[in-house]
Symmetry: C3
Subunit: 670 residues, 3 copies
């Protein structure tokens, strides 16, 4: 199977979405001239071209695309060619209204925007496959073609009758018989027992709480139904161009697709990433998405979309202060990206995203933005040695979309507890300690990790529980957050309050009751080396068995109960954290657990705000702070060379605001 | 007609909703063992069993229920058997989509949750009646049967076409002819005159303010339509088991059902009560619901549902600190409950409410929760002498659902003014003074009450106005809140601004204008013995005639206008309060009015946080505070005995946090 | 063509909406008695009488209206007769459901309120026209008829299929062919190209951002569709009564109608105005609406609706403190109103607006409110000399509904930036400087204005850009706010970031990036004579060319960039303001620009809170403050006479709280 190396060929790919159909042909020549000037290697063409390629059902208008691809090829620009199936033309919704999605209330989601297709619609699927096949037949042999890009940010949900039929077929496959389904969904509750398959529907607008099993399976089904759309197109492409890798771009940290299942179907994993420049935790968020994407890819990956400046879909859309676009681009490379791309090449003058920045902004080639785009292109060329190298990580955060899905339903102990919030808090704590972190599925082989963190996995399968126990028993260090392992695969609460295996692993006798905290409420806890700290979101009336208390709650109804415990299990150690400690405490706690597990940060003695990541033998240093920082370097008699400048550095380096260095290993100086 | 005594037979009923269909039969035996251990007397079975009892249209699967009832009976546990009609099986919505409710916008409310039936649907009604008849035929003679429980928390609204036809029939009955309807609804306004019955629809989604008469009548109709569902089932049961009382459980302080009309149709009145453990006014709220329910029942009543710990439908669901479940259970008994029950017996492992606590929680029989459940069961056995006794009250709050309904529409002087908020504020003031309070309909005979409070009755019929005037004329004391008596039965503003009768009764010349206050805005008022206090929500440019000012507004546009007035009328006194005084002032004001009316608190000299209620000859003392309190006892030479402990107490008692005593009368010591 | 003079005939019209069908005929006589007492000259009859006039399709019941008009005429009260077409009778929605509007989601908007018609429905239009013709035929010659009032506050939007067909016809007219439409809407973006007219729909509920061209054109279309309804009725009336002026009443500052296009079709321009008495900026808001209405009318206008006391559609509805109703009524006259009317004459006892105050309130003729109404009527008689005179203004604010429409779509740089907010802020600054201000269309002849302000015109046509440049070139002073001129008529971003013409006019080289500010965020700027001030909402990385900086940003990423610039262009001056300065700074800035342009306030040395306006030779002085103010008068040897009191004033006058004087010119004393 082809992979990202077939597209990179030793270079960091650089480019963006190119939508020539928005412009007269006269502009195309200018585009290619500017792409060359900016160091663009690769552009993604045709993501939203369906109405242009197939102006009416069955018609084909490919000539303009022939010309675009030939022009690009002549200009030395390679192509990631998209199937245009994310946005069907108006004729599809108009002639085949049953292809339009319906929401939970049965309201039709019309065309006039994008993404208006029902993933279960055979009409949509059929048209999508045919245009994909024709594109592959026509351009599969084009010399500029380097990658296929299928669809775009899959994520449309639908509750229509066609979806209902498809959902039933999916459920039949999953459960075989109705009895198993009734059992898994617990339909004995509230008189929900299904007597025939025809009765089953998506979880539509209802009076009160929806059956959780139905809701969970509908999310599973929707992810799978969308994945079928992807794999059908992928198969059509792979059959015709077995040597060209296929990708589709993920939304970052998106709940709608099972990221592990999807990544397994892609030759190349790619993601879109748009941190808010005003968000003080934007860099940490970026690192999380990058680590997750790398983990999904199992190696290098593609940053398919980012913004040269502001986006246009926030309430207030902030531009990027000078240096930030470069900093975040290089952060992606540091964390495994072998491609740095933008939405979009030339900023639109019309349409829904005309205020989303582009590599060539409205102000044109003499703008500051375009100048910065060109500078980045030049720098990325210097990073060719980095391409294909790994980002070693000995810490892992476990994440599972199925568990996430189960926790977003109503009727939970606290609606304030969010999987995303906990993932971000825990990952940020590790990131601030410069502990490079992978993400892993709860069934994954964890033996190579010194530290495994579980911010929250409400739903844990038997296999996952056994996996965690085996990992710790074999010497691993596990740090586990609250409300973990509560339910089995069917969102059925495990008997006894806390599962038997978890009780042993974590050294807990029982959790008498959960005491979720209100918005703005905080507990105080105190531990010997942790000192006093606040905890939010959650607390528990926790009774340990073998575990030793690390910190205890002070005051309130739970005065004296342990907030953090630590349990020796087998030859390893398991920690349990029954609240969300404030950032410094969570950092201290995970830092201590890492230290005890023999895990050191990427670089010792880093000043705050500076990120250090090793990629292969290369040390990336990124100053996210707004003030200069001095970073002591690991000893190397002959110093290290910054790939970006060619300058050698010895005992320490000074990084200005938003500065980046990529230091080559000492031996490369020789 | 049977009543609650037929079920209690001299005991406080103790138990909860029991849903054996959620569990394998092996668990049932364990359930009965634990029920016995917990002192359970009675369980409610079958509330959500329809899909199990009638797995497909017309089928019957009763064998399992035979076994359950026999097992319970053998175990000495009595049964409140439910008709399962609150939650139709999926086949009903699937085969008869017209049974599904539609909201104001016409959106279908689907199955997959519960309560998805249109009360006007003949198909639903027919199926509901048939399963009810079959249950009554089969189990009417079962020796364990003590009570029927019909439906559950009726309250589903529907705006569908079938509902429209039913609404029209209801309106024909109410008005006879269209002219009367047009007159009552004031359809001359905004060109809304109806020319034929077929034109009339429920108040669906519209451009702007809905006709208030239509909106009010639709609420009346909906309450009646649901009540028809109830009475149809009740009649079927009563015809078969004339000796078994029938109940249905109310939501607490629920707007959707006319509580007076419904209670009149029940043999036993029952309610579900779930105060938020974090709400600082939870105990006052509980007392209100209990007083209201007792007043609806005209005597002892059933606490049908409460929670052993947290619920799961709030944003953040708090458990009950140690002692609170017991305290609130005994508060219900103090205020007239002869049954203390929970939702549900065994906490579910699946379904929408699996995080709602149960008497047997996930952690099982060795949990703290179950231990507390057992302790309470034992204590309730000691309270048998209390069963059937009355709670004497010489104060009453007038409440009327029709008035409430009229005030929740848009287009009122202030959307901040809420009937519930005023009821709670006024009841709490009386409760904090330990003035035991009934609720009464505005048409009720008030002669036995020393004090009648009207927090707000916007809509007052002629009969009610006459009733109030007669009450005061005959020597009663009335305290009346603002925006009372503004409209007649049809929500037609009474001529002259303030009704002639009210002007005389309250000693008001006119109210020139209402000056509602903004959120966060407060006026200052001052009175001789009231001192200075703040008022919120409302103020008025009030001009008294015969009334004397009790307090006047200080500052602002209304400087000097009276805020509180007092009028001698006949041989009685009428007070009028034109703002919502802050809690201490409202307490002082109502306390003074009570004092002048010769009404003393349940016990003099009570410390704050301690509630005292007389039930028959028994004195309940409940410490809602978190610190111990010392309560002076009414003199009794030989002391009083606490039924719960058997200990005698003399001049005073000490009540720890959340402690309760039930002191028997002195003579019972003899 | 007839105009307002045909109705006023030298008097200030005084009256309100009169809805006799809400009352028994016995009340009518009383109404006329009270109208005479109150000085009412004119009432508007029949606005919501359709169901009464046409109780079933085709029927006519006009007798009652004959009697009403005759009674009024006998009583000396003139009539503004309304077509009743704002609120179709229930039979129309019931028999012709396709006349009911549907919202973006396809939800039907039912009858039971008002305004439930689809402007594109031929059935509605046909019925509306026929009742209009019949009214005109019957009453066109009635001696009491002085004006026609068509519909009421047009503004209903609809997204139904009939609307879709109508929208397509409108688009065909606008664009001729589909290619032009595709080009104008930029449908190349997101695969939205239309292949046939039948595919085009209104912008219905969609997945994400709607096509901006479609959204803008749909607003244009809706305004036009409603206008067609108006003009069809107007034409029917004008054909029958060419001498009677026709009006329809606008909502104040309403986005839904193109105010310039609509005003051009009316003989008389009228508006409804309901400032919140609690709004501290209510008087400024009133002045804005009055200035805008006068500008639409090109002279005197009609205040068709205001409230004698509180309205009933706010969350909390405040009455008017003593004097405020008079003050605001006279403010309208000061700013050009020749008619002061209310909704409604007699406060309803039923229906959706029974808590909206009336001239005759529930409390009746002896109420304070009615007394004040009568006092105002008497005073307005004294203002007859003012009728028909002009309000001279040498400053203008440019406003265009098309630009407003383009800015309310999602996907803009900042959702906090609102056209209305900017209009209000800028107008208020001028109003506080007592610079009387017109509003003008961007294509209007501006030569007579000394100062032209553009708070924000995002969308500017070529013609408008040329017009602005010519105005300044010829010596005008332009003050221009941020985010102006960004797009052309099709909401297509003009090339180069800032349009070439604007660059020259404003002396800007380029705007590198917009830096919109968050809610609560403020920048600090400083200028030589402006001093330090805060700016909110917006900032820019602005690079001037020929313009001189007036103030610069201090601190932050944009430290040192100009916030306000000033450019000499031709013989005039253009200012550009790249943020929203705090009120005092905006006032100072516009005041300085006016001063440099030779524009003086209406009166020098006015104390804060006092408004001065010249209307013809009459000087209106209004004290909006709650404390007395002393106002120095312009020198006039023999003094000036207050038309309201007949008293002469010389060097200065004292105005109590809410006081008003209307000072006649000195020569009129002779």
């Amino acid at each position: 199977m082809p992979d990202l190396n077939d597209a990179t060929r030793g270079r960091v790919l650089y480019g963006g979405d190119y939508n020539p159909e928005q412009w007269p042909e006269s502009v195309w020549h200018d585009d290619i001239r500017l792409m060359r000037r900016a160091g663009v290697t690769t552009v993604t063409v045709g993501v939203f071209s369906w109405a242009r390629l197939e102006p009416r059902p069955g018609a084909r208008d490919f000539d303009w695309l022939d010309r675009v691809l030939d022009l690009l090829h002549e200009g030395g620009i390679e192509v990631c060619l998209a199937t245009p199936t994310a946005s069907p033309p108006p004729w599809m919704g108009s002639r085949h209204p049953e292809t339009l999605p319906r929401d939970e209330s049965g309201t039709v989601v019309w065309y006039g925007s994008r993404n208006q297709f029902c993933a279960s619609s055979p009409v949509y699927r059929d048209h999508a496959l045919r245009i994909t096949e024709d594109l592959a037949d026509r351009y599969g042999g084009h010399p500029g073609l380097r990658m296929w890009h299928v669809g775009n940010e899959y994520g449309t949900h639908c509750w229509c009758d066609e979806t209902a039929r498809h959902f039933r077929r999916w459920l039949r496959t999953r459960y075989g018989g109705l009895d198993a389904l009734n059992e898994a969904w617990g339909t004995a509750f509230w008189s929900q027992r299904y007597d025939s398959w025809e009765e089953i529907i998506p979880p539509r607008r209802a009076q009160y709480l929806i059956n959780p099993g139905q809701a969970l399976d509908f999310r599973r089904f929707t992810s799978d139904a969308l994945l079928e759309c992807f794999t059908a197109e992928r198969d059509a492409l792979a059959a015709r161009t077995p040597h060209i890798p296929v990708t589709t771009n993920f939304h970052p940290l998106f709940i709608g697709q099972d990221g592990w299942a999807w990544a397994a179907e892609e030759d190349v994993v790619s993601v879109d990433l748009y941190p808010d420049p005003k968000d003080p935790h934007a860099a940490a968020y970026g690192a999380l998405v990058q680590d997750l994407t790398r983990s999904q890819a199992g190696g290098p990956w593609v940053l398919m979309e980012q913004a040269a400046g502001p986006v246009n879909w926030r309430g207030v859309n902030h531009p990027k202060p000078h240096g930030l676009m470069r900093l975040w681009s290089l952060q992606a490379v540091a964390r495994g990206a072998d491609a740095v791309c933008f939405f979009q090449w030339r900023q639109s003058r019309q349409g829904g995203e005309k205020f989303h920045s582009g590599m060539v902004p409205h102000a044109g080639e003499h703008s500051r933005t375009f100048a910065r785009v060109g500078e980045l292109g030049a720098e990325l060329r210097e990073l060719a040695p980095v391409v294909g190298t790994d980002v070693p990580a000995r810490a892992a955060i476990l994440h599972d979309w199925h568990s996430w899905w189960a926790t977003v339903q109503d009727g939970r102990p606290s609606s304030l507890v969010s999987c995303e919030r906990l993932l971000r808090a825990w990952h940020q704590a590790l990131w601030e300690r410069n502990l490079t972190t992978d993400f892993a599925h709860p069934h994954a082989d964890l033996t190579d990790y010194a530290l495994v963190a579980v911010p929250q996995l409400y739903l844990l399968t038997d296999e996952a529980l056994d996996n965690l126990a085996a990992y710790v028993r074999g010497g691993g260090t596990l740090v586990c957050g609250f409300f973990t392992g509560v339910a089995d695969e069917d969102d059925r609460v495990r008997p006894g309050g806390v599962d038997r295996r978890l009780r042993g692993l974590l050294g807990i006798r029982t959790v008498h009751e959960w005491w979720p905290l209100d918005e703005g409420e905080a507990l105080t806890a105190e531990g010997a080396w942790l000192g006093a700290f606040h905890g939010t979101l959650w607390s528990e009336d926790l009774e340990p068995s073998t575990a030793e208390p690390v910190a205890r709650i002070k005051g309130g109804e739970l005065d004296g109960r342990p907030a953090v415990i630590r349990n020796a299990y087998g030859t390893g150690t398991a920690w349990y954290v029954s609240t969300l400690p404030e950032p410094t405490a969570l950092r201290a706690l995970l830092g201590r657990a890492a230290e005890e597990a023999g895990l050191a940060p990427a670089l010792p003695g880093l000043p705050e705000g500076v990120e250090a990541v090793w990629r292969g033998p290369y040390l990336f240093l990124l100053n996210h702070g707004r003030t200069p920082a001095v970073v002591p370097l690991p000893s190397a008699p002959s110093g290290r060379t910054d790939l970006l400048t060619g300058r050698a550095h010895h005992t320490s380096v000074r990084l200005d605001r938003f500065a980046v260095m990529v230091l080559a290993p000492p031996e490369s100086l020789a």
